[in-house]
Every structure is written in structure tokens, then in C-alpha cells.
Amino acid sequence: MSTVLALRETLMRQILADGRQYSRGVAVTIEDVSIAFDGRTVLEHFNVEIAAGEFVAIVGRSGCGKSTLLRSIVGLETPQKGTISLGTSKHVRPDVRIMFQDSRLLPWKRILQNVTLGLGATFVPHAEKVLAQVGLADRAHDWPATLSGGQRQRVALARALVHDPSLLLLDEPLGALDALTRIEMQELIEDLWWNRGFTAFLVTHDVAEAITLADRVILIESGRVVLDEFVDLPRPRARGSVRFAALEDRILQRVLQHRAMAIDARGARASTEENR
């Protein structure tokens, strides 16, 4: 397993030999993970390997188990079966941070205090720096209630980054934002990831967003990986390019094909029942 990972990492470094940081990222190995809620299977014998510093996007319809996967990596869900290991050592848990669809800022703490949550006052200068990186230095002493949705997500991003995570999990963090703010946020996330070199794991239902950001797009359907595409487009990626559009189309077709099959199956079942 680890040799495959190492190989992949070298490969990626060769492909993207462009001064990108790799130092902080941690590899993620998800082996044979199964999760069920009240007997309903969400993930079944799920396997994914992510190289250190890789940006992986998971797409899929709602309820396909993609959020559950992220939540189990950060420890909010416990798989009934299988293992999730981060890095080579299973004992030292590298720093993992998750960003949710809603910002989950504490409304009773000012922006700066939200960013330093769980850290001492010694982290204030560092937090101010990260806030400046997300473009909100001047809002440090405001209440979250006075911020717009996009600004709140930027604060949530800053809060995660202050911890200098080795793995950043993004659970549809841009899902609730308007189209323009989304593009801005995508650029910001790509930038920060590029310069800091953490491993990023993005869950989204937006195929274009996945292709814009990720090195690799994984499609999940009914708890299994059905597509695993390496995106070798140069960054920053132009949404208008032919190759971008072709890839987006291929993935979308795959998503819709599954649905078409399901409808066909249902239709066939219905017609056989009629014939009886």
C-alpha cells in the first residue's frame, strides 16, 4: 500500500514540479470502511487512498455518504468496520480540521476570538495574520452576526488554518454561497492550499467546483467509488477551456447515467408488474 502511495507522490511531484509545498500534508488511507445508520448502509467496503498534499474532491448526489466519510475521518462518526489511518503512524494523530457548509462561528465571540478558539492568547498575532490572508483583517473585532455568509465562511477557513492543519476537510463549504462569492472562495482555498501544502479533501455536489480545485475527482454512488479521475489541467484552471468542459461533461454523464439506469430499472419493474 505505502509503496503505491509513495510512487503516486513522486509522480505528482514530477507532474506538478512548480514550487508547490508538500511538507505539511498527511496521507490518508481509508480501508474497507463500512458505516450504517439504523441498518441503512451509508458506506460499504469503502477504499480510498490520498497522497500527502493531494487535493481530492468527492462528488455525488445527496445522501451518497460523502459527508459521512468526512465526518468519520475527523472522528464525528465511528465506522462499524474498517480503518482510517492518517500518515504512517497510527498513534500520533496529525492535526485535522473540518469546515462545514455553515460557518459554525460562535456568535458570542468576536471574529478574532473565533479564530483563536481552542488556542491561547499567544496565538493572537498569528490569527491576525491568517485573518489578513482571508481578507478580513479589519473585521477582527466585529461580531459574526454583522458578517455576510461569504465573510463568515472566510472566517471559518481562517479558524481552521490557524491550526496549520495537515489535513483540511471541506464539507460543502461553499454550498450556501452565491455564484460570485463561490468563485472568490475557490480561488482563496486553492491559493492557501498551494502555499501551505496541506492535504485537502473536498466534498461537493458541484462537478465544476471539483474540477477547478482538485487533483483528483472521486465519484461516489450508493456508498462505493464508481469513478476516480486524475485532473491534470494546469492551475489556475480556466472553466471555459475545452478540456475542462470535456472532463466536466464526462463526470456529469457518469452521474446522470446511474440515475438513468435506476429509472430504467424502476420502469422495467413497473412494466413487468403490469404484465402480470
Binding site: 481552542g118 454583522t146 479558524r159
Partner: protein, 275 residues
Amino acid sequence: MKGRVMADFHRAAVWSRNNLRKIGERALPWLAPVALLVVWQLASSSGRLPSRFLPSPRAIVKSFIELSVSGELWTHVRVSTMRALSGLAVGGGLGLILGLLTGSFRWAEMLLDTTLQMIRNIPALALIPLVILWFGIDESAKVFLVALGVFFPIYINTFHGIQSVDHGLLEMGRTYGLSGWALYREVILPGALPSILVGVRFSLGFMWVMLIVAETISARSGIGYMTMNARDFMQTDVMVVGILLYALLGKAADLLSKGLERHWLRWHWAYQQVR
């Protein structure tokens, strides 16, 4: 030239109209009470409303001034306020502690909540005969009644507040390594605070109700005593002063709790200026 004069004139007219409207808006809520006072005073001075029944506003003001100059009024107010505050401290403190306990720990909820809900359904005033039997008619009986009155609003709202803390925020706190007391201090307590403060405001209302009842039954000092004593001597003006004092103290308590809310919940969207 003529146009300019007309424009000035028009502006002045608009200005005075706007100001008049502002004054009108301020004055309107006071119109009914002032009219009532005037009618009341007229009815009293014309002799249609006997002072035995209800004294005139002027007599009430006079008696208020007399009582405050002699210092009698302030003694009673001080005694009543002390009773109210000690009852609030005892009952509110217990309610807060038990509410935090049952809200935070499943075992505490299982152990205590059913019992407390049963006791809650007994009207506190129904306990008066027992309270007199237990504590006699001295201070502790009054403090006990007030404490009983304020306990449940604070208990229930604290319990509810803790239980309804945003689950997403709890989850977020945990992924940031908060647990135990740190999670409690940073997420759970502030999240429950709006609800706890609603409990405090409710309990302040009950606080005065219980105090009035306690002081009316048996007391040798306090506003209730002053009022009951005045009844024995048919001093209707003193009685009305006592009633108005309760109203003023109640209003003061409400203002105080509103102030606390404004300070402690200044982060809340309800207190934010929209930018």
C-alpha cells in the same frame, strides 16, 4: 428670487411638519394616562369619588412625599427589596445549578427532572399554610416563598437553554479539541444564556408576586406591611402609594434585567445594528 423664497418656505413647512409628527409620536402613548389622571383628579375634587374609596392623585403624591421625608417609606422599601433579593439569590441560584445539572447530564435529568416537574405543578401559594407551619411568620417564610416562586422559571429555562444549544456548534467545538469544562465555558454556557436570561425575567415577575403575598399575610415591616397597616386605619392614600411602589420596583427590576441582557447578549443579532 421668488422661487428661492418659495423653496425656503416649502422647506420650513416640511421641517415643521416632520417635527410636529415626531412630537406627536412621542406624546401619543402618554395621552391616555394623562387624560385618566385629569379625570380622576376632577372626580375626586368635585367630591364624586369619595377619598374613602380612592384618594385623589394629589393626596397620593402628598402622602408619598410625607412618607419619604419621614424616612418610613425607605425603611419599608429597603426591607422588601432585601427579602426579594435574598429569595432571588437562594431560589434563582438553586434553579440555575439544578438546571445546569439536569441539562448537562442525562443521569441528573433522569434522577431529578420528573420530581421537579411534579413539584412545579403545585401552585406555590397553595403551600402557604405549610410554610407558616414550618417557618412561622418571620423572615425565612417570606424568603422561602420568594425562592420557591423564582426557582422554577430559572430552572426550566436553564434546562431548556442547555438542551437547545446548537448541535452544530458543539460538534465544531469538539473537532477543535474542546471538551469538558472548556467546551462548557466556550460553547454550552453562552449558548444557553439567552434562555437563562428569559428565565430571569420571568422569575423577577414572580419574585414580586410572591413577596406581596408573603408580606400581606404576615409582616412587621416592608411595603406589604405598610399597605395592610394603612388599610386598618383606612389610609387609602398610603395603600395606593404601596401599590405604586410595587409597580415601580417591578419596573426597575425589569429594566435591570433588560440591561443585563443588552450587555451579555450584545453579540446577539437582535442587538446588532444592521450595516
